[in-house]
């Protein structure tokens, strides 16, 4: 049995439909018109213990809804989910003790006191043995390099420092499953890297399972071997990060270097679309299916000094996936 098992999971919201005008407002008090919105539409996947999985999708794709269902905050309208053998929506204490949900800009720490005191509060909420708690806490403080900051009132910390504390507080009970929703939102690059390293280290030391959403591909590239791509509530892709490019990128980039004299005279447009041109070095965008043929042709036609074939950057691929998804959905 996988650690997280999701089968045909659905979530439909009833959204009230508002009409303009006082009369309509009064009528809506008596009988409310609603419309069903499918936030999550029959998605299925399994995650094994110790995996770190990235959850990708544009705003409103259903990522947060899925995370909330898996952590027991939302009741699925269809399908089933099991986490650690529990049904999340039953919110049993034994389940809640083993998971954590971190939402980027939601603050669970007490604003007016040092984080250290908030941690103490968490200790009693999760009924952690004192010695074990201290060991864990000090370990995290060292890992995050927050030293004396834990003694400053949280309101005096920077956004990044607060997020570090938030994460420490959320992991004090050493959860086996981490749901991280945009944990690095709004942070600068250094801080993002530090949080990322912490999550990776936590996963390595404890073997915990991590499901993470992020707007920053760097987070996903650094942490996740596997990604789930979701759009309009549907699962579009489940697999390795590199496979994503293979499957969705329609183009590859060929980089060619000729000697300086010949380069000027070549009619590049015959081979592909010129993306970049720098003296004797040219980068061409070529449809994926044509890559092999064009490479051969280039080598046959021109005195090539150097030639490389690359996948486009992952951000571009993702953008394409969503663009395609939107087109698909608008036809449906």
């Amino acid at each position: 049995m996988p650690l997280i098992h999701v089968a045909q999971l659905c979530k439909t919201y009833q959204v009230p439909e508002r009409e303009a005008g006082l009369g309509a407002a009064l009528r809506s008090l008596v009988r409310r018109k609603t419309r069903a919105v499918k936030a999550v539409d029959a998605i299925s996947f399994d995650i094994d213990a110790g995996e770190v999985v990235g959850f990708l999708g544009p705003n409103g794709a259903g990522k947060t809804t899925t995370l909330k269902m898996l952590s027991g905050l939302l009741h699925p309208t269809g399908g089933a989910a099991s986490v650690l053998g529990f049904q999340p929506q039953r919110r049993e204490a034994a389940f809640l003790r083993q998971i954590t949900l971190v939402m980027g800009n939601r603050n669970q720490l007490q604003w007016d006191i040092p984080a250290l005191d908030s941690f103490e509060l968490n200790r009693t909420i999760y009924a952690l043995p004192a010695a074990e708690f201290r060991r864990t806490r000090d370990e995290y403080i060292a890992l995050m390099e927050v030293g004396d900051l834990v003694r400053k009132p949280v309101r005096n910390l920077s956004l990044g420092e607060r997020m570090k504390m938030e994460l420490i507080g959320a992991l004090l009970h050493r959860p086996q499953v981490l749901f991280l929703d945009e944990p690095t939102l709004g942070l600068d690059v250094t801080m993002q890297r530090r949080l990322r390293a912490f999550v990776a280290e936590y996963n390595r030391r404890t073997g915990a399972t991590v499901l993470l959403t992020s707007h920053y591909m760097a987070d996903v590239e650094a942490l996740c071997k596997r990604v789930l791509v979701i759009h309009h509530g549907r699962l579009l892709y489940d697999g390795g990060l590199s496979g994503l490019a293979e499957r969705f990128a329609a183009y590859k980039t060929i980089g060619v270097t000729l000697d300086a004299d010949t380069a000027g005279a070549v009619a590049w447009d015959a081979y592909g679309e010129v993306v970049e041109r720098d003296g004797a070095h040219v980068r061409l965008r070529v449809p994926k299916a044509e890559t092999a043929r064009m490479t051969a042709q280039l080598l046959a036609d021109q005195p090539v000094i150097d030639l490389t074939v690359e996948d486009p950057p992952i951000e571009d691929v993702i953008e394409r996936v969503f663009a395609a998804g939107t087109a698909e959905a608008s036809h449906a």
Binding site: Y13, L73, H75, M103
Partner: protein
């Protein structure tokens, strides 16, 4: 059980530290609150004077005692406001509460109980000034003082449950302010906050003793101020306990339904 006690202790400690940081702001608030009982007190003292010194069995000094103890009970009555639930839901605080392996009621009870410690300390000078200005007649017996102490916390718990129940309505609709105001108006009239129930018509007194409001307000005051018999004192504590249990049962049921509602529609 030991874990729960540790939680209460830690939460109360935290609340005391935080609320003391806002002591000045709280003082403004508490002084503003004193105006209300002073108005009632002045009105009823005037009436008592015009009726030969006594009205409804209360002398001027007894009114003074009633409305001064009133200020402490009123402060003990302040719990998480039903208007706050909308904020809790909107800001995602509720999600945080639901993810913890502990009933959120514990968190509120513990937090506000800690705050009460601060409130009582801040209240003492106010009470002293009021006592100097209005000369209360107060001769409690030791038993009355003991019952008073426990009934204060009983009142606190009853009102916590009542306002929780009221606040949970927010899970179904956010247009609640008129309803809340109606509740507060009924509570004002039936709890002994406006006047001691003895000044009310008989049928209102009967209604009041069958409802929880009086046990969260007038009973603690009377325990100290009036001459209740030991049977009345202990019986009152018993009734408080009953209302706490009833409130707990109500909160359990409604809370479960509220969470089901919340997890159906999301925050």
């Amino acid at each position: 059980m030991r874990n729960l006690l540790a939680f209460y202790w830690q939460t109360m400690k935290t609340a005391v530290i935080i609320e003391f940081q806002y002591a000045t702001a709280q003082y403004f608030y508490m002084i503003g609150m004193v105006a209300e009982p002073v108005i009632y007190l002045v009105v009823w003292t005037t009436i008592a004077a015009s009726q030969g010194g006594v009205v409804g069995g209360y002398t001027a000094g007894q009114f003074a005692a009633y409305y001064i103890v009133w200020t402490l009970v009123r402060n003990m009555n302040i719990v998480f406001t039903p208007y706050g639930w909308e904020w809790r839901i909107r800001e995602g605080q509720l999600s945080g509460m639901l993810l913890r392996p502990l009933h959120p009621l514990h968190m509120d009870v513990a937090w506000f109980a800690g705050w009460k410690v601060v409130v009582i300390v801040l209240w003492l000078p106010i009470a002293a000034v009021l006592a100097l200005a209005f000369r209360p007649e107060l001769n409690p017996t030791p038993l009355e003082m003991v019952v008073f102490f426990f009934s204060l916390w009983g009142a606190y718990l009853i009102r916590t449950m009542l306002l929780w129940l009221l606040g949970l309505i927010t899970f179904w609709t956010t247009r609640v302010s008129a309803l809340y105001e109606l509740y507060f108006a009924l509570e004002l009239l039936l709890s002994g906050r406006l006047v001691p129930m003895g000044l009310m018509p008989a049928w209102v007194q009967t209604a009041s003793s069958l409802l929880p409001f009086k046990w969260a307000f007038q009973f603690p005051i009377e325990a100290l101020v009036a001459d209740l018999t030991p049977a009345q004192l202990l019986g009152g504590l018993g009734l408080q306990a009953l209302w706490i249990l009833a409130g707990l049962a109500g909160v359990q049921i409604v809370w479960r339904a509220a969470v089901r509602q919340y997890s159906a529609v999301g925050g």
